[in-house]
């Protein structure tokens, strides 16, 4: 997938001008691009591991920078994330009304928010918005620093850019993401309450809360939090990687931003399949039939 990504935004003129490649050449190019993809993935994993390993040092050396980044995340990206989760919940209220109304399942409308949404949808949508708002912002910022050789200047001054730029952002994400997601869940339930009870009048207030809390327990909340935490921090790590490896002038920054978005979208979906299978594959964790 990343060999696609790395060539995606490049030059379409050259590829059209060159004559049709022979079979051996095309096999060779596929092999080379696959090698490149594996190398990129290994670099990404190594970079992520190193930036996580540096977090304790970062906390000791640059605590103010960590908390400043956390503040930027909360003030700059928090409102957008929470607003979009609220829109998602209201949309589910509208769709769920027409689905649940016909067979007379009205009273189960509260379960939309604790089953369909809380077991994956909110986490995935959260991941999308984190990738778009926080991730692309980090790539643009770090990439332009890299292009204007500010990162090299940091190194000359004896500051480890990995600690000062990458690890601070990852640490800020580690601090902020769980709280942001918990707030998002609260907003999701509230928006769903407003949508289902007052706007669509699918269910009564008491019925809503009965089924909302009947279909979830603390394990669900823990799984949701872990899932969102992994998704959000992964997006930030991918973004710092693509930001600090950007090259090729201003155009390179734009290409790195688009590439990080592609990689993040694929990884979010992959992580969702893994989490759903691991935590809910064998055990629905529902108060029915067990």
């Amino acid at each position: 997938m990343s060999q696609d990504a790395s060539q995606r935004t490049g030059s379409d003129d050259e590829s059209q001008e060159e004559s049709a490649p022979t079979t051996r050449e095309s096999v060779e190019s596929i092999r080379r691009s696959m090698e490149q993809a594996v190398e990129n993935a290994a670099e990404l994993v190594r970079f992520g591991g190193r930036s996580i390993a540096q977090i304790p040092k970062t906390f000791r050396l640059y605590p103010s920078e960590v908390f400043q980044q956390a503040g930027v995340l909360i003030r700059g990206s928090g409102p957008v994330i929470i607003a979009l989760i609220a829109v998602l919940a209201v949309q589910s209220a509208v769709g769920g009304h027409y689905i649940f109304d016909t067979p007379g399942l009205n009273s189960y409308a509260g379960a939309i928010y604790s089953v369909a949404l809380m077991r994956g949808l909110v986490q995935v949508v959260f991941g999308w918005i984190v990738a778009a708002k926080i991730g692309c912002g980090i790539v643009a910022e770090l990439g332009s620093m890299k292009i204007s050789e500010e990162i090299d200047a940091l190194e000359v001054m004896g500051i480890n850019p990995m600690q000062y730029l990458a690890s601070t952002r990852v640490a800020a994400g580690v601090i902020v993401v769980p709280f942001l997601f918990a707030t998002g869940l609260f907003v999701e339930f509230t928006a769903g309450f407003v949508g289902s009870v007052y706007a669509m009048q699918t269910v009564s207030e008491g019925g809503f809360f009965t089924y909302l809390y009947l279909f979830q327990n603390f394990a669900d909340f823990g799984i949701a939090l872990l899932w969102a935490f992994c998704t959000g921090v992964m997006c930030i790590i991918v973004a710092t990687y693509y930001g600090s490896t950007a090259s090729g002038g201003p155009v390179g920054v734009g290409q790195a931003t688009a590439k990080s978005m592609v990689v993040n979208l694929v990884l979010i979906s992959t992580l969702a399949v893994v989490f759903a299978q691991v935590f809910y594959g064998g055990n629905a964790n529902a108060p029915i039939g067990n």
Partner: protein
């Protein structure tokens, strides 16, 4: 002579930014004003694209096809992985739950309707805007930053006609058409989930699916995706054409394009679903 010169500054003709209207605009705070200006710019760009296509509907179809193929070749794999991974996981989670409730035979038909109306369209639009839309913004923005667009304008070539129209047409077509494989994957994912977890036979599943599915719903999905394609294309082209401001400018343009696409998409989907289901409530039901 000298008196005239002295009085001249006080008696000048009103400039373009004087008068009541501009003063009122000047009072409006920066945030809302820039939002209105951006939305207006996007609508103007879309109008320009449509006018260009309608007035001379020839000369760009072959290029659109080429660009469609290029986009598909470059982003097919990530889009397929993102869309199909999401749909599979969503189908599995919900089917597991319904099978616990013992309502698999009834539930899957609803799930398909709910799933495709709300989430297939949604994930298709999100992934297209994140993968192909971001690439489009990068492409146009790179040309803007390298001043290729200015050079084209100087040579008397309209960048909207030459660059934006083929890309816009191909991206709108891509968004519309990719919903069909998305629907197929939703159906297959639900069927696998229902068979594996709910022990529902494939014949029963597809019988209940096709007995509750109607052509207007499929048309509605296509129309919805077409509208979302227009939205994504307009936002991404506008942000690309207006990129600028050094090396951080292009990255920021891509960032803003994706975020604006997501916000617009979420709000649009809410409005579309509410209006569509409100107008045709019988389509949301199971027959």
């Amino acid at each position: 002579m000298s008196a005239d010169e002295r009085e001249a500054p006080t008696k000048h003709a009103p400039g373009p930014f004087e008068g009541v209207g501009p003063r009122v605009v000047g009072v409006v705070p920066d945030g809302p004003r820039s939002v209105v200006a951006e939305v207006g710019g996007m609508i103007a760009l879309f109008g320009k694209i449509v006018w260009s296509v309608v007035r001379k509907p020839y000369g760009f179809w072959a290029e659109s096809l080429d660009y469609f193929f290029t986009t598909l070749r470059r982003s097919a794999l990530p889009m397929a992985a993102a869309i199909f991974g999401f749909l599979l996981f969503f189908s599995l989670v919900v089917v597991i739950f319904f099978s616990q409730a013992g309502a698999v035979s009834l539930g899957t038909a609803f799930l398909f309707q709910y799933g495709f109306r709300a989430f297939t369209v949604f994930v298709v639009a999100v992934v297209v805007s994140g993968v192909a839309g971001a690439a489009l913004t990068t492409d146009l923005g790179a040309r803007k930053i390298r001043e290729e667009l200015d050079a084209m304008t100087v040579m008397g070539i309209d960048p909207v006609r030459e660059l934006v129209v083929p890309r816009a047409i191909s991206l709108i077509a891509l968004t519309t058409l990719i919903s069909l494989p998305g629907l197929a994957v939703t159906a297959v994912g639900l069927q696998l989930g229902a068979g594996y977890y709910g022990h529902l036979s494939a014949a029963d599943f597809y019988h209940s699916l096709f007995s509750s599915l109607s052509p207007p719903e499929l048309f509605s999905v296509l129309i919805n995706c077409f509208m979302l394609g227009i939205l994504i294309t307009t936002v991404c082209c506008y942000k690309g054409l207006n990129a600028g401001g050094g090396s951080i400018g292009l990255g920021r343009a891509v960032n803003q394009a994706v975020v604006v696409c997501y916000v617009a998409l979420f709000v649009f989907q809410l409005a579309y679903n509410a209006i569509f289901l409100g107008l045709f409530p019988e389509l949301g039901r199971v027959r």
